[in-house]
Amino acid sequence: MSKLTSFLRERLPVDRAKLRELTNEPVPHHLKHGWFCLGGTPAYRFVVMIVTGILLAFYYEATPTRAWESVRTISEDVAYGWFLRSIHRWAATLMVAAVVLHQMRIFFTDAYRRPRELNWLIGMGLLHCTLGAGFTGYSLVYEQLSYWGATVAANLTDNVPWIGALLRRLLLGGDEYNAHTLSRFFVLHGAILPVTMIGLIVLHVTLIRLHGIAELRFKADQNSAPRFFDFFPDHLLTELAIGLVLMLLLGVLASLFPVPIGPRVDPLLTPDVIKPEWFFYVAFRWLKLFSERAAFASLGAIVVVMAAWPFIDGFIRRRRPGSEASVFVGIVAVLAIVGLTVWEALVAH
């Protein structure tokens, strides 16, 4: 035993005390409340996505003639295919929800403020990669709704200033949806976006470690000294417990509501009722309200303002210290998002 230990010690020259110090981030006390542990949830989902995604890729075929058929095979012929597919889809849904909730909690607890602006930007990158992975992933199924959603979204990239037309051609691999399009979506979905996300997550966590988790005081303990607890093992155990609950939730959702497969693509017929995935309802409703250019420009402006918010907020508070602008902006944004989503969900057209 001790021989093995000394063998390993020599090959892996890590100082135990240092390692302990490095991993043992003091965790502020408010992380005892579940609402503040939302950041770990998408990370956990991400691992589930990678594992199930790699498994699905064993059977998936990214060509127009075979794509729908191969997803049908996964769902109906391969052992536990329906379960893995449903886990992949449900985890994606919950991941988007968790990312959005995590971002809301960061916003309303002011955790994006100086000096953490960069991490907010990285978080915006992660949000977009997650939405992009959800979009390209759904396109892979090659059912009617996913095909028309992809067509609409690809045509929308035409509006990007200067490089829009080029971007659209690059994305589609031609002038419109064609035989090369699905493999491009697949490469984005299974390689480019996940690898980018791994990089962003590493940066995100590194910055969190460098700054420490933003400390937050509740009214009740405002006067006491700041309280911290150990990351290891206390917080790790909390996260593990959360992980177990999430796995259970995913298993139950996938078993009770397995993901169906819709009708195969018909490029000559747009179905009468067409909806994207729920997390695009906001943008979809927006597109119906304005002309193409106006809708795209306003959505783009909203995203830019969102990304730049820590700096805008800093500017406002330097001008008018104690301003509550961010709370009002946040509430209006949440109401608008919820309102547009519910509106789109309730009507057929």
């Binding site: 127009p64 028309w148 067509t151 609409v152 690809a154 045509n155 929308l156 051609r169 690059l170 589609l172 691999g173 031609g174 002038d175 419109e176 949806y177 064609n178 035989a179 090369h180 399009t181 693509v265 018909d266 490029p267 000559l268 017929l269 747009t270 179905p271 009468d272 009722v273 067409i274 979809f284 597109l287 119906k288 304005f290 002309s291 193409e292 250019r293 106006a294 809708a295 057209h349």
Partner: protein
């Protein structure tokens, strides 16, 4: 690391002749330039590789001999890509002989919505085309009457037609994911 950079400078500086440092700099610059050039070349190649080479292939097909294509009637053409295209000859106001027929007397409306590319369907009960994607509507002649295409003043696109020696031709796509 116990290496002290200032110590190194102190001992090295007087022994390095100015000329060598010039060549060292030149070598450094050359190395940097070749790195940029080689990675740049690679990036250009990769970009070219990803850029689609062909646009959608198209060809002219014959629709009909205009003598047999009466005013105010339609013909249906099925393109090799699978699209069913309705070609219409407009009604004549006043007298007209085949000699005065021009290509403008015919229309072939595309069913692809000018907004973001969904397929419109004709609703006979409303006498309009309807796009289910963002509720665009079009008059039978293709003008937008509602929804985002109307806001942007777009109409349903038309297939190119040509009239040669009393024969009507249409330019249709040869391939698509449907075919």
């Amino acid at each position: 690391m116990t290496h002290d950079p200032t110590a190194a400078q102190v001992t090295l500086a007087p022994t390095v002749p100015a000329r060598r440092s010039f060549f060292a700099r030149l070598a450094g610059f050359a190395m940097f330039a070749s790195l940029v050039a080689s990675y740049g070349t690679f990036a250009v190649m990769a970009g070219r590789f990803l850029l689609p080479t062909h646009s959608r292939r198209k060809a002219w097909r014959r629709v009909a001999e205009i003598g047999s294509f009466q005013p105010a009637t339609t013909r249906t053409v099925v393109a090799p890509s699978g699209e069913r295209i309705v070609v219409a000859r407009c009604a004549i106001n006043g007298a007209s002989t085949p000699a005065t027929v021009t290509v403008d007397d015919f229309v072939a409306l595309s069913s692809t919505c000018p907004h973001l590319g969904c397929q419109v369907t004709f609703e006979p009960q409303h006498q309009r085309f309807f796009c289910p994607c963002h509720n665009g509507t079009f008059a039978p002649d293709g003008r937008a009457t509602g929804g985002p295409p109307f806001e942007a003043g777009q109409s349903l696109p038309r297939y190119p037609l040509d009239l040669r020696a009393n024969l009507l031709y249409i330019e249709v796509p040869l391939d698509g994911v449907a075919g």
